[in-house]
Amino acid sequence: MKILVSVKRVIDYNVKVRVKPDQSAVDLTNVKMSMNPFCEIAVEEAIRLKEKGVASEVVVVSVGSKSCQETLRTAMALGADRAIQVEAEDGLDSLSVAKLIAKVAQEEAADLVIMGKQAIDSDNNQTGQMVAALLDYPQATFASEVVIENGEAQVTREIDGGLQTLAITLPAVVTTDLRLNEPRFASLPNIMKAKKKPLDVKTPADLGVEVGSNVSIVSVTPPPQRAGGIKVGSVAELVDKLKNEAKVVS
Protein backbone atom coordinates (compact mmCIF):
# COMPACT_ATOMS: atom_id res chain seq x y z
CA MET A 1 0.00 0.00 0.00
CA LYS A 2 1.29 3.42 -0.90
CA ILE A 3 0.60 6.45 1.31
CA LEU A 4 0.77 10.07 0.18
CA VAL A 5 1.17 12.63 2.96
CA SER A 6 0.83 16.36 2.40
CA VAL A 7 2.92 18.74 4.48
CA LYS A 8 2.71 22.50 4.70
CA ARG A 9 5.37 24.93 5.88
CA VAL A 10 3.80 27.44 8.25
CA ILE A 11 4.73 29.94 10.92
CA ASP A 12 5.89 28.06 14.02
CA TYR A 13 3.03 27.65 16.47
CA ASN A 14 5.01 29.37 19.23
CA VAL A 15 5.63 32.57 17.28
CA LYS A 16 3.71 35.69 18.18
CA VAL A 17 1.94 36.79 15.02
CA ARG A 18 2.27 40.38 13.81
CA VAL A 19 0.25 42.04 11.10
CA LYS A 20 2.10 44.16 8.51
CA PRO A 21 1.59 47.92 8.93
CA ASP A 22 0.04 48.16 5.46
CA GLN A 23 -2.57 45.58 6.54
CA SER A 24 -1.89 43.39 3.53
CA ALA A 25 -0.88 40.22 5.37
CA VAL A 26 0.82 38.76 8.41
CA ASP A 27 4.52 39.65 8.61
CA LEU A 28 6.56 36.53 7.90
CA THR A 29 9.99 38.12 7.50
CA ASN A 30 12.59 36.55 9.80
CA VAL A 31 9.96 34.47 11.52
CA LYS A 32 10.58 30.88 12.54
CA MET A 33 8.78 28.51 10.18
CA SER A 34 8.02 24.84 10.86
CA MET A 35 6.01 21.94 9.59
CA ASN A 36 2.32 22.45 10.34
CA PRO A 37 1.70 20.45 13.56
CA PHE A 38 -1.19 18.49 12.03
CA CYS A 39 1.06 17.51 9.12
CA GLU A 40 3.66 16.21 11.59
CA ILE A 41 0.92 13.97 12.96
CA ALA A 42 0.07 12.88 9.41
CA VAL A 43 3.68 11.98 8.65
CA GLU A 44 3.97 10.09 11.94
CA GLU A 45 0.84 8.06 11.22
CA ALA A 46 2.10 7.10 7.76
CA ILE A 47 5.48 6.05 9.13
CA ARG A 48 3.85 3.93 11.82
CA LEU A 49 1.76 2.21 9.17
CA LYS A 50 4.94 1.49 7.28
CA GLU A 51 6.69 0.20 10.39
CA LYS A 52 3.73 -2.13 11.00
CA GLY A 53 4.11 -3.47 7.49
CA VAL A 54 0.75 -2.08 6.38
CA ALA A 55 2.28 0.48 4.04
CA SER A 56 5.14 -0.17 1.64
CA GLU A 57 6.01 3.39 0.69
CA VAL A 58 5.43 6.86 2.12
CA VAL A 59 5.61 9.78 -0.29
CA VAL A 60 5.36 13.37 0.95
CA VAL A 61 4.17 16.33 -1.07
CA SER A 62 4.24 20.05 -0.42
CA VAL A 63 2.92 22.88 -2.54
CA GLY A 64 4.92 26.07 -2.27
CA SER A 65 8.08 27.98 -3.01
CA LYS A 66 11.55 26.46 -2.77
CA SER A 67 11.67 26.90 1.00
CA CYS A 68 9.10 24.14 1.49
CA GLN A 69 11.81 21.68 0.43
CA GLU A 70 13.11 22.13 3.97
CA THR A 71 9.80 20.82 5.29
CA LEU A 72 9.93 17.90 2.86
CA ARG A 73 13.47 17.05 4.07
CA THR A 74 12.17 17.09 7.63
CA ALA A 75 9.44 14.65 6.65
CA MET A 76 12.02 12.38 5.03
CA ALA A 77 14.22 12.61 8.13
CA LEU A 78 11.23 11.37 10.08
CA GLY A 79 10.93 8.39 7.76
CA ALA A 80 9.18 9.29 4.51
CA ASP A 81 10.78 7.59 1.51
CA ARG A 82 10.68 10.35 -1.07
CA ALA A 83 9.25 13.78 -1.70
CA ILE A 84 7.56 15.90 -4.32
CA GLN A 85 7.60 19.67 -4.28
CA VAL A 86 4.95 21.30 -6.40
CA GLU A 87 6.56 24.61 -7.21
CA ALA A 88 4.09 27.45 -6.70
CA GLU A 89 3.84 30.76 -4.94
CA ASP A 90 3.19 30.43 -1.21
CA GLY A 91 -0.32 31.12 -0.06
CA LEU A 92 -2.15 29.51 -2.97
CA ASP A 93 -5.80 29.00 -2.11
CA SER A 94 -7.05 25.64 -0.85
CA LEU A 95 -8.90 24.64 -3.99
CA SER A 96 -5.77 25.07 -6.12
CA VAL A 97 -3.68 23.20 -3.57
CA ALA A 98 -6.31 20.45 -3.47
CA LYS A 99 -6.29 20.13 -7.27
CA LEU A 100 -2.50 19.77 -7.26
CA ILE A 101 -2.47 17.23 -4.43
CA ALA A 102 -5.33 15.28 -6.01
CA LYS A 103 -3.36 15.08 -9.25
CA VAL A 104 -0.24 13.88 -7.46
CA ALA A 105 -2.31 11.28 -5.60
CA GLN A 106 -3.63 10.05 -8.93
CA GLU A 107 -0.25 9.92 -10.62
CA GLU A 108 1.25 8.13 -7.66
CA ALA A 109 -1.76 5.81 -7.41
CA ALA A 110 -1.74 6.37 -3.65
CA ASP A 111 -4.07 4.07 -1.71
CA LEU A 112 -4.33 6.46 1.20
CA VAL A 113 -3.82 10.22 1.40
CA ILE A 114 -3.13 11.51 4.91
CA MET A 115 -3.36 15.26 5.47
CA GLY A 116 -3.55 17.60 8.44
CA LYS A 117 -7.05 18.63 9.46
CA GLN A 118 -6.05 22.27 9.50
CA ALA A 119 -3.14 24.51 8.63
CA ILE A 120 -2.50 26.77 11.62
CA ASP A 121 -1.89 29.84 9.44
CA SER A 122 -5.03 29.97 7.30
CA ASP A 123 -7.06 27.90 9.78
CA ASN A 124 -9.06 26.71 6.76
CA ASN A 125 -9.72 23.07 7.62
CA GLN A 126 -10.79 22.24 4.08
CA THR A 127 -8.01 21.06 1.78
CA GLY A 128 -8.34 17.35 2.65
CA GLN A 129 -12.09 17.37 2.11
CA MET A 130 -11.53 19.09 -1.26
CA VAL A 131 -8.96 16.52 -2.36
CA ALA A 132 -11.43 13.76 -1.48
CA ALA A 133 -14.23 15.46 -3.42
CA LEU A 134 -12.08 16.06 -6.50
CA LEU A 135 -11.07 12.38 -6.60
CA ASP A 136 -14.53 11.20 -5.54
CA TYR A 137 -12.85 9.35 -2.67
CA PRO A 138 -14.43 8.75 0.72
CA GLN A 139 -12.99 10.76 3.58
CA ALA A 140 -12.52 10.52 7.32
CA THR A 141 -11.64 13.88 8.80
CA PHE A 142 -10.40 14.76 12.33
CA ALA A 143 -9.02 11.26 12.93
CA SER A 144 -7.94 10.12 16.38
CA GLU A 145 -7.46 6.46 15.42
CA VAL A 146 -6.83 4.74 12.11
CA VAL A 147 -6.93 0.97 11.57
CA ILE A 148 -6.32 -0.43 8.07
CA GLU A 149 -7.86 -3.82 7.33
CA ASN A 150 -9.18 -5.61 4.25
CA GLY A 151 -8.91 -2.64 1.95
CA GLU A 152 -10.75 -0.45 4.41
CA ALA A 153 -9.78 2.19 6.91
CA GLN A 154 -11.68 2.18 10.19
CA VAL A 155 -11.31 5.67 11.48
CA THR A 156 -12.37 7.15 14.79
CA ARG A 157 -13.18 10.83 14.37
CA GLU A 158 -13.29 13.65 16.93
CA ILE A 159 -16.63 15.35 16.41
CA ASP A 160 -18.40 18.06 18.42
CA GLY A 161 -20.56 15.56 20.27
CA GLY A 162 -17.83 13.03 21.05
CA LEU A 163 -16.40 10.30 18.83
CA GLN A 164 -17.63 8.70 15.63
CA THR A 165 -16.24 5.66 13.83
CA LEU A 166 -16.50 5.29 10.06
CA ALA A 167 -15.31 2.55 7.73
CA ILE A 168 -14.12 3.90 4.40
CA THR A 169 -13.01 1.95 1.35
CA LEU A 170 -9.54 2.67 0.01
CA PRO A 171 -8.42 4.73 -1.81
CA ALA A 172 -9.45 7.41 0.64
CA VAL A 173 -8.44 10.64 2.37
CA VAL A 174 -7.86 10.87 6.13
CA THR A 175 -7.20 14.14 7.97
CA THR A 176 -5.49 14.10 11.35
CA ASP A 177 -6.57 15.48 14.72
CA LEU A 178 -4.32 16.16 17.70
CA ARG A 179 -4.85 12.88 19.52
CA LEU A 180 -3.98 10.55 16.63
CA ASN A 181 -0.38 10.09 17.76
CA GLU A 182 2.59 11.85 19.25
CA PRO A 183 5.10 12.66 16.51
CA ARG A 184 8.71 11.57 17.00
CA PHE A 185 11.75 13.78 16.61
CA ALA A 186 14.21 13.30 13.78
CA SER A 187 17.58 11.90 14.81
CA LEU A 188 20.79 13.44 13.49
CA PRO A 189 21.74 10.37 11.40
CA ASN A 190 18.26 10.37 9.88
CA ILE A 191 18.54 14.06 9.08
CA MET A 192 21.78 13.28 7.24
CA LYS A 193 20.20 10.34 5.41
CA ALA A 194 17.24 12.44 4.36
CA LYS A 195 19.51 14.69 2.34
CA LYS A 196 20.12 11.80 -0.05
CA LYS A 197 16.50 10.76 -0.45
CA PRO A 198 14.85 11.68 -3.77
CA LEU A 199 13.04 15.00 -4.02
CA ASP A 200 11.22 15.70 -7.28
CA VAL A 201 10.10 19.15 -8.32
CA LYS A 202 6.98 19.55 -10.45
CA THR A 203 5.10 22.56 -11.68
CA PRO A 204 1.33 22.95 -11.86
CA ALA A 205 1.75 22.82 -15.65
CA ASP A 206 3.52 19.43 -15.37
CA LEU A 207 0.45 18.23 -13.51
CA GLY A 208 -1.93 19.85 -15.97
CA VAL A 209 -3.55 21.95 -13.27
CA GLU A 210 -4.44 25.58 -13.66
CA VAL A 211 -4.15 27.47 -10.39
CA GLY A 212 -5.85 30.69 -9.42
CA SER A 213 -8.57 32.02 -7.21
CA ASN A 214 -11.49 34.39 -7.20
CA VAL A 215 -10.85 35.26 -3.58
CA SER A 216 -8.83 38.37 -2.75
CA ILE A 217 -7.66 39.79 0.56
CA VAL A 218 -9.12 43.20 1.30
CA SER A 219 -7.23 43.64 4.56
CA VAL A 220 -5.56 41.81 7.41
CA THR A 221 -5.80 43.58 10.74
CA PRO A 222 -4.86 42.82 14.32
CA PRO A 223 -7.74 41.53 16.44
CA PRO A 224 -9.44 43.91 18.86
CA GLN A 225 -7.50 43.98 22.11
CA ARG A 226 -9.21 43.23 25.39
CA ALA A 227 -9.02 46.02 27.91
CA GLY A 228 -6.70 44.99 30.72
CA GLY A 229 -8.34 43.50 33.78
CA ILE A 230 -7.43 43.48 37.43
CA LYS A 231 -6.11 41.01 39.95
CA VAL A 232 -8.38 40.29 42.87
CA GLY A 233 -6.95 39.47 46.28
CA SER A 234 -9.37 36.83 47.44
CA VAL A 235 -12.26 34.59 46.46
CA ALA A 236 -14.59 36.91 48.39
CA GLU A 237 -13.46 39.87 46.30
CA LEU A 238 -13.87 37.87 43.12
CA VAL A 239 -17.44 36.91 43.98
CA ASP A 240 -18.23 40.49 44.90
CA LYS A 241 -16.91 41.74 41.55
CA LEU A 242 -18.82 39.11 39.59
CA LYS A 243 -22.04 39.98 41.39
CA ASN A 244 -21.85 43.72 41.71
CA GLU A 245 -19.48 44.99 39.02
CA ALA A 246 -19.70 42.57 36.09
CA LYS A 247 -23.19 41.44 37.13
CA VAL A 248 -22.72 38.03 35.53
CA VAL A 249 -23.55 36.11 38.70
CA SER A 250 -26.69 36.69 40.70
Binding site: Q126, G128, M130, N214, R226, I230, V235, L242
Partner: protein
Protein backbone atom coordinates in the same frame (compact mmCIF):
# COMPACT_ATOMS: atom_id res chain seq x y z
CA UNK B 1 -31.28 35.04 -5.07
CA UNK B 2 -31.83 33.04 -1.91
CA UNK B 3 -29.35 31.75 0.61
CA UNK B 4 -29.21 28.02 1.35
CA UNK B 5 -28.23 26.89 4.85
CA UNK B 6 -27.40 23.32 5.76
CA UNK B 7 -29.18 22.72 9.08
CA UNK B 8 -27.19 21.25 11.96
CA UNK B 9 -29.19 18.57 13.77
CA UNK B 10 -29.09 15.05 15.19
CA UNK B 11 -32.35 13.85 13.60
CA UNK B 12 -34.13 14.83 16.81
CA UNK B 13 -33.58 18.53 17.26
CA UNK B 14 -32.26 21.51 15.38
CA UNK B 15 -28.92 22.61 16.89
CA UNK B 16 -28.58 26.21 18.08
CA UNK B 17 -25.63 26.97 15.77
CA UNK B 18 -28.14 26.84 12.90
CA UNK B 19 -29.91 29.88 14.36
CA UNK B 20 -26.73 31.96 14.36
CA UNK B 21 -26.13 30.93 10.78
CA UNK B 22 -29.63 32.12 9.87
CA UNK B 23 -28.73 35.56 11.21
CA UNK B 24 -25.60 35.62 9.05
CA UNK B 25 -27.70 34.59 6.05
CA UNK B 26 -30.30 37.30 6.60
CA UNK B 27 -27.48 39.85 6.47
CA UNK B 28 -26.71 38.60 2.97
CA UNK B 29 -30.27 38.23 1.69
CA UNK B 30 -33.71 38.19 3.25
CA UNK B 31 -34.75 34.97 1.55
CA UNK B 32 -33.29 32.13 3.60
CA UNK B 33 -33.82 28.43 2.91
CA UNK B 34 -32.84 25.59 5.22
CA UNK B 35 -31.89 22.12 4.04
CA UNK B 36 -32.63 19.36 6.54
CA UNK B 37 -30.90 16.17 5.40
CA UNK B 38 -31.41 13.32 7.81
CA UNK B 39 -33.49 10.29 8.67
CA UNK B 40 -36.78 10.29 10.55
CA UNK B 41 -36.08 13.92 11.25
CA UNK B 42 -39.64 15.21 11.22
CA UNK B 43 -39.29 17.13 14.50
CA UNK B 44 -36.25 18.89 13.09
CA UNK B 45 -38.28 19.89 10.05
CA UNK B 46 -41.00 21.25 12.35
CA UNK B 47 -38.45 23.30 14.27
CA UNK B 48 -36.73 24.48 11.11
CA UNK B 49 -40.03 25.71 9.65
CA UNK B 50 -40.62 27.91 12.66
CA UNK B 51 -37.29 29.72 12.69
CA UNK B 52 -37.84 33.43 12.16
CA UNK B 53 -36.50 34.54 8.79
CA UNK B 54 -36.60 31.14 7.11
CA UNK B 55 -38.91 31.09 4.09
CA UNK B 56 -38.47 27.53 2.86
CA UNK B 57 -37.34 24.21 4.27
CA UNK B 58 -35.95 21.56 1.92
CA UNK B 59 -36.39 18.11 3.37
CA UNK B 60 -34.30 15.07 2.45
CA UNK B 61 -35.48 12.37 4.85
CA UNK B 62 -33.96 9.03 4.03
CA UNK B 63 -31.86 6.33 5.71
CA UNK B 64 -29.03 7.33 3.36
CA UNK B 65 -28.72 10.64 5.22
CA UNK B 66 -29.03 9.30 8.77
CA UNK B 67 -25.40 10.02 9.70
CA UNK B 68 -24.98 12.95 7.33
CA UNK B 69 -21.93 11.46 5.68
CA UNK B 70 -20.01 14.08 3.75
CA UNK B 71 -19.80 11.97 0.60
CA UNK B 72 -23.49 11.83 -0.15
CA UNK B 73 -24.74 14.98 1.58
CA UNK B 74 -22.28 17.06 -0.46
CA UNK B 75 -23.67 15.56 -3.66
CA UNK B 76 -27.22 16.21 -2.52
CA UNK B 77 -26.35 19.84 -1.81
CA UNK B 78 -24.76 20.23 -5.23
CA UNK B 79 -27.92 18.82 -6.82
CA UNK B 80 -30.10 21.42 -5.12
CA UNK B 81 -27.51 24.23 -5.37
CA UNK B 82 -28.87 25.57 -8.63
CA UNK B 83 -30.20 29.06 -8.14
CA UNK B 84 -28.40 29.77 -4.88
CA UNK B 85 -25.60 32.29 -4.80
CA UNK B 86 -24.69 31.49 -1.19
CA UNK B 87 -24.46 28.15 0.61
CA UNK B 88 -23.84 28.33 4.35
CA UNK B 89 -23.42 25.89 7.22
CA UNK B 90 -22.48 26.36 10.85
CA UNK B 91 -18.73 25.98 11.43
CA UNK B 92 -19.22 22.78 13.40
CA UNK B 93 -17.44 19.49 12.78
CA UNK B 94 -20.38 18.51 10.54
CA UNK B 95 -20.31 21.72 8.52
CA UNK B 96 -16.53 21.64 8.22
CA UNK B 97 -16.67 18.04 7.09
CA UNK B 98 -19.15 18.63 4.29
CA UNK B 99 -18.94 22.17 2.90
CA UNK B 100 -15.39 22.00 1.51
CA UNK B 101 -16.55 19.01 -0.54
CA UNK B 102 -19.46 21.03 -1.83
CA UNK B 103 -17.16 23.90 -2.80
CA UNK B 104 -14.73 21.59 -4.60
CA UNK B 105 -17.57 19.94 -6.53
CA UNK B 106 -18.77 23.39 -7.56
CA UNK B 107 -15.19 24.43 -8.40
CA UNK B 108 -15.33 27.42 -6.05
CA UNK B 109 -13.49 28.49 -2.90
CA UNK B 110 -14.81 27.86 0.59
CA UNK B 111 -14.49 30.44 3.36
CA UNK B 112 -14.22 29.01 6.86
CA UNK B 113 -15.36 30.44 10.18
CA UNK B 114 -16.92 33.65 8.94
CA UNK B 115 -17.52 36.04 11.86
CA UNK B 116 -18.91 39.02 9.98
CA UNK B 117 -20.78 39.74 6.77
CA UNK B 118 -19.55 42.99 5.16
CA UNK B 119 -21.62 42.55 2.02
CA UNK B 120 -22.88 39.78 -0.22
CA UNK B 121 -19.34 39.13 -1.47
CA UNK B 122 -17.11 40.34 1.35
CA UNK B 123 -16.65 38.47 4.62
CA UNK B 124 -14.49 38.64 7.73
CA UNK B 125 -12.75 35.62 9.25
CA UNK B 126 -10.04 35.08 11.84
CA UNK B 127 -6.74 33.50 10.77
CA UNK B 128 -3.60 32.50 12.70
CA UNK B 129 -5.59 31.37 15.75
CA UNK B 130 -7.44 34.66 15.81
CA UNK B 131 -4.24 36.70 15.97
CA UNK B 132 -5.15 38.33 12.68
CA UNK B 133 -8.50 39.16 11.16
CA UNK B 134 -8.84 38.86 7.39
CA UNK B 135 -11.43 40.59 5.28
CA UNK B 136 -11.83 38.69 2.02
CA UNK B 137 -13.78 39.31 -1.13
CA UNK B 138 -14.89 36.58 -3.48
CA UNK B 139 -16.16 36.83 -7.03
CA UNK B 140 -17.04 33.13 -7.23
CA UNK B 141 -20.49 32.54 -8.69
CA UNK B 142 -21.46 30.57 -5.60
CA UNK B 143 -20.12 31.60 -2.22
CA UNK B 144 -19.69 28.66 0.14
CA UNK B 145 -19.15 29.64 3.78
CA UNK B 146 -19.04 28.10 7.21
CA UNK B 147 -20.27 30.49 9.89
CA UNK B 148 -18.85 30.77 13.38
CA UNK B 149 -21.77 30.87 15.79
CA UNK B 150 -20.10 33.29 18.21
CA UNK B 151 -19.98 35.96 15.50
CA UNK B 152 -23.76 36.27 15.14
CA UNK B 153 -26.75 36.46 17.45
CA UNK B 154 -29.18 33.58 17.28
CA UNK B 155 -32.29 34.08 15.15
CA UNK B 156 -35.56 33.56 17.03
CA UNK B 157 -36.47 29.89 17.03
CA UNK B 158 -40.15 30.66 16.57
CA UNK B 159 -42.22 33.13 14.62
CA UNK B 160 -41.56 31.85 11.14
CA UNK B 161 -43.74 29.66 8.98
CA UNK B 162 -41.69 28.37 6.11
CA UNK B 163 -43.09 26.37 3.24
CA UNK B 164 -41.70 22.87 2.79
CA UNK B 165 -40.30 21.13 -0.21
CA UNK B 166 -39.62 17.42 -0.10
CA UNK B 167 -36.56 16.25 -2.01
CA UNK B 168 -36.90 12.82 -3.51
CA UNK B 169 -33.36 12.13 -4.70
CA UNK B 170 -31.54 9.47 -2.70
CA UNK B 171 -27.79 9.48 -2.91
CA UNK B 172 -26.13 6.62 -1.07
CA UNK B 173 -22.49 6.38 -0.01
CA UNK B 174 -21.29 2.91 -0.80
CA UNK B 175 -17.69 3.58 0.13
CA UNK B 176 -18.25 5.23 3.49
CA UNK B 177 -20.06 3.38 6.22
CA UNK B 178 -21.09 4.49 9.68
CA UNK B 179 -19.81 2.07 12.32
CA UNK B 180 -20.57 3.59 15.70
CA UNK B 181 -20.73 6.71 17.78
CA UNK B 182 -19.80 7.45 21.38
CA UNK B 183 -21.57 10.65 22.21
CA UNK B 184 -20.99 12.48 25.45
CA UNK B 185 -24.12 12.63 27.55
CA UNK B 186 -24.56 15.45 29.94
CA UNK B 187 -27.34 17.34 31.63
CA UNK B 188 -25.32 20.49 31.37
CA UNK B 189 -25.80 23.06 28.61
CA UNK B 190 -23.92 22.48 25.39
CA UNK B 191 -20.49 24.11 25.49
CA UNK B 192 -21.05 26.29 22.44
CA UNK B 193 -24.47 27.47 23.64
CA UNK B 194 -23.74 27.98 27.36
CA UNK B 195 -23.93 31.38 29.07
CA UNK B 196 -21.36 30.35 31.63
CA UNK B 197 -18.39 28.02 31.15
CA UNK B 198 -15.89 26.78 33.67
CA UNK B 199 -12.84 25.16 32.10
CA UNK B 200 -10.01 23.17 33.61
CA UNK B 201 -6.47 22.73 32.37
CA UNK B 202 -3.44 20.65 33.13
CA UNK B 203 -3.35 22.29 36.55
CA UNK B 204 -6.36 20.16 37.53
CA UNK B 205 -3.89 17.30 37.93
CA UNK B 206 -6.23 14.47 37.01
CA UNK B 207 -9.70 13.65 35.75
CA UNK B 208 -11.14 13.09 39.21
CA UNK B 209 -10.33 16.65 40.20
CA UNK B 210 -12.66 17.93 37.48
CA UNK B 211 -15.39 17.07 40.00
CA UNK B 212 -14.26 20.21 41.82
CA UNK B 213 -15.58 22.22 38.89
CA UNK B 214 -18.93 20.45 38.85
CA UNK B 215 -20.20 22.02 42.03
CA UNK B 216 -19.64 25.49 40.60
CA UNK B 217 -21.08 24.44 37.24
CA UNK B 218 -24.22 23.20 39.03
CA UNK B 219 -24.64 26.48 40.88
CA UNK B 220 -24.08 28.66 37.81
CA UNK B 221 -25.81 26.43 35.26
CA UNK B 222 -22.48 26.29 33.49
CA UNK B 223 -20.97 24.00 30.88
CA UNK B 224 -17.59 22.43 31.58
CA UNK B 225 -14.72 22.93 29.16
CA UNK B 226 -11.03 22.08 29.04
CA UNK B 227 -7.69 22.92 27.51
CA UNK B 228 -5.98 20.64 25.05
CA UNK B 229 -3.48 19.58 27.69
CA UNK B 230 -6.31 18.35 29.92
CA UNK B 231 -7.82 16.38 27.04
CA UNK B 232 -4.47 14.97 25.87
CA UNK B 233 -3.74 13.83 29.42
CA UNK B 234 -7.02 11.93 29.40
CA UNK B 235 -8.64 13.98 32.21
CA UNK B 236 -11.74 14.64 30.09
CA UNK B 237 -13.05 13.68 26.62
CA UNK B 238 -12.15 15.54 23.42
CA UNK B 239 -15.52 17.22 22.99
CA UNK B 240 -14.65 19.53 25.91
CA UNK B 241 -11.64 21.10 24.20
CA UNK B 242 -11.86 24.84 23.73
CA UNK B 243 -9.45 26.54 21.34
CA UNK B 244 -8.04 27.09 17.87
CA UNK B 245 -8.63 23.49 16.96
CA UNK B 246 -11.41 22.74 19.41
CA UNK B 247 -14.58 24.66 20.08
CA UNK B 248 -15.03 28.39 19.87
CA UNK B 249 -17.08 29.82 22.72
CA UNK B 250 -18.13 33.29 23.81
CA UNK B 251 -20.20 32.99 26.99
CA UNK B 252 -21.10 35.83 29.35
CA UNK B 253 -18.70 34.36 31.88
CA UNK B 254 -15.68 32.11 31.24
CA UNK B 255 -13.76 30.80 34.24
CA UNK B 256 -10.34 29.32 33.41
CA UNK B 257 -8.92 27.15 36.17
CA UNK B 258 -5.34 25.89 36.01
CA UNK B 259 -5.01 26.96 32.37
CA UNK B 260 -1.88 28.88 31.33
CA UNK B 261 -3.46 30.74 28.43
CA UNK B 262 -1.59 29.56 25.33
CA UNK B 263 -2.63 31.43 22.16
CA UNK B 264 -4.31 28.28 20.88
CA UNK B 265 -6.55 28.21 23.94
CA UNK B 266 -7.23 31.96 23.87
CA UNK B 267 -8.30 31.61 20.23
CA UNK B 268 -11.34 29.68 21.40
CA UNK B 269 -12.51 31.85 24.30
CA UNK B 270 -11.15 35.38 24.19
CA UNK B 271 -14.42 36.79 22.88
CA UNK B 272 -16.14 35.83 26.13
CA UNK B 273 -17.74 38.82 27.84
CA UNK B 274 -16.15 38.37 31.24
CA UNK B 275 -13.09 36.19 31.79
CA UNK B 276 -11.96 34.94 35.18
CA UNK B 277 -8.62 33.16 35.65
CA UNK B 278 -7.54 31.15 38.64
CA UNK B 279 -3.90 30.19 38.42
CA UNK B 280 -1.09 29.90 40.94
CA UNK B 281 1.46 31.39 38.57
CA UNK B 282 1.04 35.14 38.51
CA UNK B 283 2.99 35.33 35.24
CA UNK B 284 0.56 33.02 33.40
CA UNK B 285 -0.49 34.64 30.08
CA UNK B 286 -4.15 33.93 30.84
CA UNK B 287 -4.03 36.94 33.20
CA UNK B 288 -3.45 39.22 30.19
CA UNK B 289 -6.96 38.53 28.94
CA UNK B 290 -8.67 38.00 32.28
CA UNK B 291 -11.00 40.70 33.60
CA UNK B 292 -10.57 39.23 37.05
CA UNK B 293 -7.47 37.26 37.89
CA UNK B 294 -6.97 35.36 41.11
CA UNK B 295 -3.46 34.15 41.87
CA UNK B 296 -4.13 31.14 44.04
CA UNK B 297 -3.84 27.40 44.33
CA UNK B 298 -6.94 26.11 42.65
CA UNK B 299 -7.35 23.38 45.25
CA UNK B 300 -7.97 26.12 47.83
CA UNK B 301 -9.75 28.64 45.65
CA UNK B 302 -12.20 26.40 43.79
CA UNK B 303 -13.88 24.83 46.86
CA UNK B 304 -14.04 28.28 48.47
CA UNK B 305 -15.60 29.76 45.34
CA UNK B 306 -18.20 27.02 45.26
CA UNK B 307 -19.16 27.75 48.85
CA UNK B 308 -19.48 31.47 48.34
CA UNK B 309 -21.72 31.34 45.26
Amino acid sequence: MSVLIIAEHDNKSLKPATLNTVTAATQINADVHLLVAGFECQTVVEQASQVAGVTKVLVADNAAYEHQLAENVSKLIVEVADGYEHILAPATTTGKNTLPRVAALLNVAQLSDVIKVESADTFVRPIYAGNAIATVKTTDAVKVLTVRATGFDAAASTGGSAERQVLSQVIASDRSRFVKEQLAESDRPELTAANVIISGGRGMGNGDNFKLLEGIADKLGAAIGASRAAVDAGFVPNDLQVGQTGKTVAPDLYIAVGISGAIQHLAGMKDSKVIVAINKDEEAPIFQVADYGLVADLFDAVPELEKSL
